[in-house]
């Protein structure tokens, strides 16, 4: 691949990640092209980009998932590269292939690598070949119900039933006993069919109370590969991450070294190029098991940026342009501690139900060590068509204690009004002794909600007082307005106000 630098990059995404990529482009002197659906005409990424193109109606299948429309926008704008962000077409091998065929650089791995890693059992086979331990289970997708039952008996219960084409928790079932298998299988397959158009599944032994720890990797097209350490992602609900941090409080130097080497071995085996992430489960005895590889930038990439001091999006663009990595493994160190909270338009008091609507007011936190990667603004209507991520609040501190204190402080400053968000929930989690001690696994959120929601001291008296004061003030204002309308002249009104001054 010849080295060249991009002049213009199209961002095939929306929301905070589109904003994030646009920022990197502008800092590099690269022109940016936004694409938008009809629902996103006034979205922040459209306002920030140098140029923007409409790509269709609100539903993502007709806009952000339309390969033809996005390539058409790339041709019209003369973009020489496409950054896919995460989600949508980011792990779509057909899209990467179409870019390759059109001579537009796809900022990510080659299409055949995406296909190899996208089919989860072939990713497991590559891992086994590279000497990376995988969760015990099937190495081929299984289609027939009888074959699945006999494979399940071979692996043993409890087990995880997963969609072979899967990701994002879709088509995923935890099966405790054999008699639950048939019902779980039916649901997993129908979910997988509707999400991925492919209902084949595979089975893995369930790891009890695991940590979810992932390794960031980066490789260039010249055979250089490094890892950028771990991210701890155990704070999740329904397989969706809520809080991520680096380093992991569960990590030892020895395990970090081992998982990093395993990750680089897999990257080299797959001849992987660009940024990627290997997800692992780590059991109570600190044994890592490879789960899957995400062949794209992760939502939680900022925690790695803050602890390593490297801008992953810029590095992605440079690698995609054919440049060599500007550092070797030995040059990389973890400095301090970073934590990210995903600020979602979801109501934590109603089972994290999505809460689209208008953002009436927004006050972002600031001060030392605070980063806010946002895709919204005051007055913006959060659409119902896409995922509910509004922004990410990320802090960096000298150590985990300072990062936690800083995140608490930043959460207390952060106000988003108009729609319920996950902000108050994070403020409560950050006070929880188990979280502060780093004592958690992937079952944490469900357990925290169950034990704390009923027992919560809620500031009812202050809430009632505030509501009553506002009602009183509105009554007083209405009375004043009513009086004013009956008064003969503004002069009389002014005189009356003068006479009333100081009376309260």
């Amino acid at each position: 691949m010849a080295e060249r630098s991009f002049r213009k990059v199209l961002i095939a995404n929306r929301g905070e990640i589109a904003v994030r990529v646009i920022r990197a482009c502008h800092e590099m002197g690269i022109a940016s092209v936004a694409v938008f659906s009809e629902a996103d005409r006034t979205a922040l990424h459209v306002r920030m980009a140098g140029e923007s193109h409409a790509i269709g109606p609100a539903p993502s299948r007709d806009s952000y998932l339309s390969i033809d429309r996005i390539l058409d926008a790339a041709r019209r704008s003369g973009a020489d590269a496409i950054h896919p962000g995460y989600g949508f077409l980011a792990e779509n091998a057909a899209f990467a292939r179409a870019c390759e065929q059109q001579g537009i650089a796809f900022v990510g791995p080659r299409s055949e690598t995406i296909a190899l890693m996208g089919e989860k059992t072939s990713a497991r086979r590559v891992a086994v070949e590279a000497g990376v331990p995988v969760v015990p289970g099937s190495l081929q997708p299984i289609a027939g119900a009888e074959a699945i039952r006999s494979e399940a008996r071979r692996i043993g219960f409890p087990l995880m039933l997963k969609a072979a084409a899967g990701g994002g928790g879709k088509g995923l079932r935890h099966v405790l006993r054999e008699d639950e298998l048939d019902a779980a299988l039916q649901r997993a397959r129908s979910e997988a069919k509707s999400a991925f158009g492919d209902d084949s599944v595979y089975l893995e032994k369930a790891i009890e109370r695991p940590r979810h720890i992932e390794i960031q990797v980066l490789a260039d097209a010249h055979g250089n590969a490094v890892h950028l350490f771990e991210r701890e992602c155990s704070i999740q609900r329904r397989h969706q991450k809520l809080i991520e941090e680096s380093p992991s409080p569960f990590m030892t130097d020895e395990l970090r070294e081992r998982m990093g080497s395993l990750a680089v071995a897999l990257v080299e085996r797959a001849r992987y190029v660009n940024a990627g992430t290997l997800e692992f489960l780590v059991d109570a005895e600190r044994r890592p098991y490879f789960l899957e590889m995400n062949t794209r930038l992760q939502v939680e990439h900022p925690v790695t940026e803050l602890v390593t001091g490297h801008d992953l999006v810029k590095l992605q663009l440079r690698v995609a342009a054919g440049e060599r990595l500007p550092f070797r493994q030995a040059d990389l160190v973890q400095r301090g501690h970073a934590i990210e909270c995903r600020v979602l338009a979801e109501d934590p008091d109603r089972g994290f139900l999505p809460s689209p609507g208008r953002i009436e007011a927004l006050h972002a936190p600031g001060g030392p060590g605070v980063r806010e990667d946002s895709g919204v603004y005051a007055g913006y209507d959060v659409p119902v068509h896409y995922d509910p991520l509004l922004s990410k609040l990320i802090v960096h501190g000298a150590n985990r204690g300072e990062a936690i204190a800083r995140l608490r402080r930043a959460l207390a400053e952060y106000r988003i009004l108009g729609v319920p968000t996950t902000l108050p929930f994070f403020a409560r989690v950050l006070r929880d002794p188990a979280f502060v001690a780093g004592d958690f696994d992937t079952s944490y959120v469900a357990a925290f909600v169950a034990r704390s929601d009923g027992a919560r001291e809620r500031p009812r008296a202050v809430a009632a007082a505030a509501a009553a004061i506002r009602a009183l003030r509105e009554r007083q204002a209405a009375r004043l307005a009513g009086d004013a309308s009956r008064l003969p002249t503004p002069w009389f009104d002014a005189g009356l106000r003068e006479a009333q001054r100081g009376r309260a």
């Binding site: 119902v384 006070r431 008296a461 009632a464 009602a471």
Partner: protein, 164 residues
């Protein structure tokens, strides 16, 4: 003024007087001195007995929502002198009609008609905004009707279930 305030399932008696930046409030007999400065739309800095709090005040159909850094409380006010009924109580007395909070697709029904449910129990699972979400019972009772079926697409406001 005297209000009855329904705050997240509890009714409190609130007396309030004052003007401008200073108010005296009594909540169920507990007296609070409150300083009040509106700093932006829907945002107010209050001093409650000396402690400074930044509160968000959102309007909703039945009153307001007070947003704290670590909590969010819906408050319904009822003027105790002028009379009337608390909307929340009126709603909890009759059958509750559960409507779709956003457009989406019904993934599965958890409680068929006739099932006895507790407030907060999941009635059905709806896919919306890329997530599977549980739609919960607003009150305890019996599921009188499930108005949708698995796989059905629904628009905002569509009737999903009736719990009585």
């Amino acid at each position: 003024m005297i209000f009855e305030a329904l705050v997240e399932g509890r009714t409190l008696r609130v007396e309030v007087s004052g003007r401008g930046a200073r108010y005296a409030v009594s909540v169920d007999g507990r007296r609070l001195e409150v300083g009040w400065h509106e700093t932006a739309k829907d945002l107010v800095t209050v001093r409650v007995d000396g402690q400074v709090l930044e509160l968000g005040l959102e309007r909703n159909a039945s009153g307001c929502v007070v947003v704290f850094p670590d909590d969010r409380l819906a408050v319904e006010l009822h003027d105790a002198v002028r009379g009337g009924t608390l909307q929340g109580r009126a709603a909890s007395a009759g059958p509750a009609r559960v409507k779709a909070p956003m457009p989406g697709k019904i993934v599965r029904v958890l409680t068929p008609a006739g099932t006895a449910v507790k407030a907060g129990q999941g009635l059905l699972v709806m896919e919306a905004m890329k997530m599977e979400n549980e739609i919960r019972a607003p009150r305890s009772g019996r599921v009188q009707e499930i108005a949708v079926r698995d796989g059905q697409a629904v628009e905002t406001g569509a009737l999903l279930a009736v719990v009585g």
